[in-house]
Symmetry: C7
Subunit: 75 residues, 7 copies
């Protein structure tokens, strides 16, 4: 799907699975429920990953935008 | 519950238990009393956690938003 | 006492004792005299703490808000 | 092609291949689909590179602007 | 003296001696001549201190506000 | 040539060679094509330098302003 | 000379020698030609110093304000 602005990519990914990489080197994945222009994001059924393995179940989380490096829609 | 914007997740969590992870690697949990758009948050009955164990009783705390990485409502 | 916004917690703590944790890992305590929306704070009779022991008497200090991680009212 | 403002360079690079270097030392390349004034960028068919070798296939990614150091159009 | 806002503490300290602690761990003291809301400050007769000893005479200096952690009026 | 404001120095350097030092310790040089008030800059024929030796040919690059420490016009 | 605001100190120092200390620990000196409210500064005949010795001749440089910690007029 074509997009015009970066946040369009998140709009298309809403309610789907995303992987979020954080400035502290952590990776979380979950279902994208909400986001804003700062890239604050809310994920449901979030899990922390290390080397592709789930290391922690987090449930719903709000991630502060300035801690995000990359968001990858995965479906 | 569905949410439209990231801070809606905090509105729903108000007066409930949350876990807050900080940029310095610390984790605190407590009862969410107040927050603002910077993610400054006030917790009551806050406790510092290490490896899931309570290491310090903090009482009421104000956490500066820019030190927050993740907020997890836990109920 | 109930509060609506994060800074209400500081308003209630005014002229009382607070502990302030800083991004550089230092902890100071003192009597909260003034604060603003950036969390710049002025403490009177401030003391630096390490492992709960007073390591330095500082008198009146102005702490720049962006160096603050947590403010704990202690009375 | 001549450009007037820095973002003109990204406009010319749109839908072409770019390499993006990040503050954490990582390098990704992909097809530039969207960007904004913060240098938030969306890449399609993104790949992570180490020493010029592809180490991970990432698909579509949104990179937060403040994590970018350099963007190189490569065609 | 009572103060209403954090910068009132600097107003009262003007033309008096202050100690300024910096994010890089350095400490300087001098006579406070000017400041602004960013906590940019100008000191006259500034000296760098280490463990309470003067290590360097700096004369007049402008310190960029975002490098300040604490300002202590000392008289 | 006299200048009034810092960016005047970049205006005079436009289409000439500049060396740019980055916060991560890297140095690049190239022909300055565009810049803005954030010090986002576009260089053509950019090269990465280490100890004065060219270590990598980069072609056209956009450098994010907040990663810049120093810009030196060299002609 | 008396000053009212921090930048007045730079106005008085214009076209004179200054030493600028940077967040990365480097020190440069040169003739102050221009500055702005961000503390972006342009120096002419700039030199990099280590332990008081000149280690590099830089000529004209633009220093990005957020990399500055201290500016010292030296005449």
């Amino acid at each position: 799907m074509t997009i015009e602005r970066p946040l369009d990519a998140l709009n298309q990914a809403k309610n789907g699975a995303v992987v979020v990489e954080l400035k502290n080197g952590n990776t979380v994945r979950g279902t994208l429920r909400a986001f804003d222009i700062h890239l604050n994001v809310v994920l449901d059924d979030a899990e922390e990953l290390k080397d592709g393995e789930v290391t922690r179940k987090l449930g719903r989380i709000l991630i502060r935008g300035d801690t995000v490096t990359i968001i990858m829609p995965t479906e």
